[in-house]
Each structure stands twice: as C-alpha cells, then as structure tokens.
Symmetry: C2
Subunit: 430 residues, 2 copies
C-alpha cells in the first residue's frame, strides 16, 4: 500500500526459539525496542518499526512441523507461510480453517497475533476456535520461553492465557510455536453469485441460507452494486449476471459429497429465485467459473486503488446497520468522493467500506475521521473487525474505548513485557 | 456426589447487574469473601464456599434474553438454565452449541466460567469458539461493570479480555451477561453404536469417520468393555450388540437433510464393518432407539456409584496415550479396585476414567494420587479436560504447572480482584 515507511537499521532473522530468547533477553537488559514481523501484510502498521525498533523477522523460523493425522492437531513453528501450511497438510486430507487474501505471504504466527479472520470464519470460526495453545517467548530478563495452553482440544487446567496472545498484535511476547486443530479438506466446493435488489432481502437470504445450506456453508460474502461497477471499470471484470443489482451475494459451500452439496445448493437457489428474494443468480459449473466469481470479490480491495488514493476500512456492525454505514458516509462526503464502495463478509457482520479520491486530500480525511469511527462505535460496532488496531487506529481506539479496559490491557502488557520494549506505539499502551 | 460440605451462613440472590455491583463494592470495602454460584453442578468444588464466603447465587438472574435471528447472536443474562436457553431459541431454528449431562440444571454463566465441554465439542468447538463477549462485574471499589468483547463475530479492536473469564471459574469477576453465537438446529440426527476389538482400530475409525461423516459429525464417544459390563450390572441396560467387544464407539451425526445424512452414515458403517475395523454395529432407527444408545453412555458416570465409592477423573490425553491410562492405573492398583472403567469423548481426547471401591479407602487414594496426575502430565495431557481445577485439584495443579504461569495467573487475578475476595482457595492463587 506504500502507506508506511518504517525506520530500522537492524533486521534479525532467528531460526530457533533459543535465539529469540537470547535476543529478547539482551534487548531487555539494554532496553532496546523490538518489533516482531511476520509476512508484513498487515494494513494497520502493526509490524512496522515506528522509530528505531529492531525488526525481529520470523521468516526463517520454519523448522518444526508435525501433524497428528488422527486427532487433526498441528504443531508448527510460527514462521511458515499460511499457504504452505495448507499445502503440507493437504496430503493428509486436512485444510487450514482460515483463508485470506494474503495467504501466499502472511505467516502463521502473524495470523494468530492479529486473529485474522478472512472468508471462511462463518464456517470454521476465528483463531480462538482453532488454536489450542502457543509457545511464546517473553521480553523479560531471561527471555522466558513459555508453553501456554496445549496441543489438546479440551484443557481447562489453567486460565486460558494463550488466548491473550491471539489478537495481541505481537505486543505481549513473540509467538514461536502454534498448536491448532485443522479441519477435513472438503471434497466438494460450490460457488454461486446472486443479485438482490434490497439490503432487507440480503438479510432474509442469509437467514434462509444458514438453514438450508446449514453444515456446508463456508462463505457468505457481500458486494454492493458500486463495487461491481468499480470492478468492471478498474479491472475489466464483467458481472456474469444480466442485471446490475443493487447488491450481490457470493455464497460458497464446502462438503464431503458432491451430489448432496449440489442438491442443497440447487434447492436453496431455486427457493430464493422463485420467491423473488433474488433477482438473478448463477452457479459456477466448474472450478474455473468459481474462480471467475471469486476474482470479482477479491478484486474489490485491490482494483479500487486505480482511482487514486483510497481510504480503507474494516468494521464489524450489527447486521441492521451493515448497509446504513455507506449511506451515512455518502451523506457525510456529499459527492466529494470519487467512489464509495462496500463489500465484505456479511455472514460475519464484517464490512469493508472503501472511499476513493483522485489524490490524498486532508479535507476529505477530516470529514471522514473521526466521524466514521464514532458512527460505527455509536451503533455498537467495532472499528477493527479483522485488521487490528496497530499504529494507524491507535488514537481513535484510545478515544473510543472504556478507559478501564485500556488500563487493564496496559497492566497485562506490563506483566509480560516489564520494560515495554515489544512493539511500542501500537494497540496496547505501556 | 456428596463430596463437599460448604460453609456459608449467607446466600444472596441478585436479580440485576446493579445489585451485583453494589454487593461486590460493599464486600470489597469490608473485605468479605464471595463465591459466585451457578447451577452448583460442578465436580471440583469451584462454587463451594470453603470457609465463610457469602454465596452469590445467580439463579434469579434471568431478565434479559434477546436473539438476533438473522445473525444468530444471542445476548442473555447468565442465570438462565442451559436447557431453557436451548428451548427458547429452538423456536427460531437455533440450538445452543454446547450440550452436557447437567444441561437441565447448570446455568449459562457457569458453563462459560468453567468452559464446560460436553459431547458436541468435536463439532461446535468450546465456549471460546462461540462466546463473542461478556458483561462482568469486578470485585473492586466501584463494583465496576465492564463489557468485554462484544456481540460481534469479528472484533479485533482490543486484547480479547473476555477470553480470560472463559474458564476462570468465577475467580476474576462475576459474569452477568453472555454474548454468544448459536447454531442452526439440526433437522436430522443419527446415532450408531459400534463394537471394536482394539484401541488401534478405534483410532482408525475416528480418522475415517472425520473424513466420511465430515461436516455432519456431532459426537464421537468412547465406552470401554468394562464400562459396558458395569452399565449392565449396575443399571440393567443391555448392550444392543451381540458381541461384548473390548471397546464401543457411539457416533452421532447432525445435519439438515435426512436422506443425505442417512446415506453418509450408511456408507461409513458399511465401510468400517466390511473392512473388519468394527466387529458389529447398530444404527438407531428412530429417536427412541437413539435414546437407548445414549442412555448407555450417559449412565457410565452415574451407575458406577452403585459400586460404593468412586474416584472420578477428567483428563485430556494425546490419542496415542488415551487407552494406555486405564492400563497404567490397573497396573498401579494391582487388583485392589472393584472396577476401573473408561469412557469419554475420544473425538476430543477427553477420557473419564472412574475407579470404584466398596467404600472410601485412604490406601487406594494414596496409590492413585499423585500417581495418576503425574502420569497424565508426563504424557503431555491435562489433568482437567472439562471440569476445571476448583478446590479439589488445586494442590495437584500447583505442583505440576510451570511456576511462571501460576505467577502470571495470580497477577492477572490481582488486576481484576485487588483484595482477592472472589472465590478464594480455588484454581488461581491470590
């Protein structure tokens, strides 16, 4: 995105836990700041050195990898690229439950540290649902190595401390090993795109989809008409439906039986088309057609950059406010934006609203912020659904959150990181 | 179980959050100890007053209950009985994802506070997979009311502090409101019991089951031959299979399509019977036959009490050690027990080994403890899979766990409960 320019004159690339322990112990003693860095794919500057922090890159931390193919528990070092983890376990019929655009470059430890969500959370849950334990190294005198949680699916023998590290953005300790459950790889995948003329109907279709597609739903994605127009103009991708609807839903099922899954998807599509909830719909006949549908969805965050400068957002909202947000932003900007598009994971309440302008304009910035964060907060939403707080949202976050919660988070940081050397100037205060 | 006799001369039954806040503020100022109590169904004494603690019963805390039927997010007070929650949301086609023997009396807040597991964890995950946020009241000067997490499925705008309360056994604060996702209620449920002659084959069947039954597996339970004999002798329940195998697996599927689910289950049973992995098998033809199968499994922990005194255990183990445990205990007790039975949730690695003797005998106790805890720990297992630590396992737990982890847990307790008044003498040190 070229939004950040980091400052660091030192990048370390440890290859084992003991090296990380020594580094953190040394940095603790000399009070040197360190920022752990995984695939460097984040959008909120969480892994960027803000001043002169030492970068602790996890890219070479890829030694241990072990899958118990009966229990489906994976133990592996945090430096593996997400897609590589997925490819390795595919041989045993398993799949990593989390899937996101950056899978080809993000590292597993970074996915855990940011609790990254992605397109299949509706089916498999967040990292909290799948990570059973972690090995972490603390930035204290000994560079202490701790195993928190375990590789066991059920373990209630302690406070669930590893949960604190999921979504901690690397500010409590360095995640070195991940214990997680992986899921059976689907043998049958179907994707369909439907056009819908009101947001009310999108919600009804979501409810019917959850009932009729039930155990095989794996994605329920949302693309508004403005996004579809943008994808056509900026990326030359044609919508395969004949009508340009106000809204589009991209629905994916994953299951173990081709015939059963086809039958469920057919019945669902027939129902929503015949009842008039959907205006039009297309079911991908093969993997190549499915790829075409997904290309439209995946182009949304990327193709808009062609417009010039893009304000990107990652909010969660109660569904009733999901599409009131773009309308509120349109009103606020009153024609001053080139484009306001909205897409995301409607099944999870996660909306990515993007605002494009020809080039950066402080006046537009001032109209947008803090307006949009306050609006989301006032509706009971979250200003960070899946991309975290990092450096970018720090000030807004601090102004909006209950001070007692900040105080507790800060005290917890001090417990793990007594001198505050790990990833300073980010989500958690020291 | 009549294992515990609590000491308390005061039971409070608050009906709203403000009352709990006032109680905790008052108790903080006067340094009075308080123990929150939900359904009082625990097995480790977590909700029992050990000395003169005031009991804060949550039984009347049942005012707010709201389901968003589109998003499937439930917001409700923590005092509802689990089964009542399930019945209420059934009308909208939803189900509570956690199911356990005590569902008719345990309260939702207690299920969260103990991270109770149960029989469907293999499908729906633990409370961490389903609880998105909590309202809690802290035992501090103001009796502070905090909302941690949110009713949103994706929310990464903070440390995930509510996760600390899941499994905290009521030692950090009083859980007053639960935000959780609920799941579509299955329209088709099938149960089968199979007999298997080796534990190695049980593991192979689990692996095949996860592939072939995939998205519809909802339980994968284990009953050993000794348990089956005990259920016959103590509860008069006949095994519906013709051979008394060494092991039995009770497998349940839950899905949305009767025909599809039947077909998957038939193919699975045919495969494991024809390949010789299973000795015999029976598929319940209707709900009444399914109830008969489940009655066998559910009688295991209860019917053994007829033997006299029962040492009960709740361990998680890596699967390769799952059935080495009863063998190790048999060797250790060398014929001194009346019965050693083993049953549990093999799909989650959770084994409940029960040892019965005619009446309590300190010599047997001394042979069992700390031997059995140390054995489990040495195999990378957990001494508390789903029942927690409470008071009963406190000493063993403290001897086995890494002291740094105890130190961190203790510091976290002090953050939330500065005077240590909440549920003392339990899992977390003050």
């Amino acid at each position: 995105m070229h939004w950040y320019k980091g400052n660091s004159s030192c990048v370390l690339l440890p290859e084992n836990t003991q090296q990380i322990s020594s580094i953190l112990s040394h940095c603790y003693k000399r009070k040197l700041a360190v920022v752990p860095q995984s695939g460097n794919t984040g959008l909120v500057g969480g892994s960027i050195p803000m001043h002169d922090e030492i970068i602790l890159s996890m890219k070479k931390f890829t030694k241990n990898f072990e899958l118990d193919s009966t229990s489906g528990i994976l133990e592996c070092d945090s430096g593996f690229v997400l897609e590589e983890v997925d490819n390795r376990i595919a041989k045993e019929g398993y799949m990593v439950p989390v899937d996101l655009g950056a899978k080809g470059s993000c590292l597993l430890g970074g996915v855990v540290a940011t609790n990254a969500g992605g397109i299949r959370l509706i089916r498999y849950g967040s990292m909290h649902a799948n990570v059973t334990g972690l090995e972490v190294v603390l930035p204290n005198e000994q560079g202490q190595i701790l195993r928190l949680g375990s590789p066991l699916r059920k373990d209630n023998a302690d406070l669930h401390l590893h949960k604190l590290f999921i979504g901690s953005e690397g500010q409590l300790g360095v995640i070195t090993k991940v214990f997680m459950q992986v899921v059976p790889r689907p043998l049958s995948v179907h994707s369909a795109l439907i056009g819908v003329n009101s947001f009310e109907k999108c919600q009804q279709i979501l409810k019917i989809g959850k009932q009729m597609l039930n155990e095989i739903i794996s994605s329920f994605e949302f693309i508004d008409g403005e996004s579809m127009k943008m994808v056509k103009e900026n990326a030359g991708l044609d919508c395969p439906l004949s009508i340009l609807s106000n809204f589009f839903l991209l629905i994916e099922t994953s299951g173990s039986n081709e015939e059963h899954d086809s039958s469920k998807m057919d019945k669902f599509l027939t129902k929503i088309l015949e009842s008039g909830l959907a205006e039009d719909g297309v079911l991908a006949k093969n993997a190549s057609e499915a790829d075409q549908l997904w290309k439209i969805r995946e182009s949304c965050p990327l193709a808009i950059r062609k417009d010039g400068y893009v304000f990107k957002h990652d909010f969660s909202l109660p569904l009733k406010y999901f599409y009131e947000l773009p309308e509120a932003v349109r009103k606020q900007l009153n024609g001053k934006a080139k484009r306001i598009i909205s897409f995301g994971h409607i099944g999870d309440g996660n909306v990515h609203i993007n605002v494009s302008i020809p080039e950066y304009d402080q006046k537009i910035y001032d109209l947008l912020y803090p307006f949009v964060y306050e609006w989301v907060y006032s509706k009971g939403g979250s200003i960070s659904a899946e991309h975290g707080i990092g450096h970018v949202k720090r000030t807004f976050h601090h102004n909006l959150v209950n001070p007692k919660i900040r105080e507790i988070s800060s005290s917890i940081k001090k417990l793990f990181d007594p001198k505050g050397i790990l990833s300073p100037y980010k989500m958690i205060d020291f």
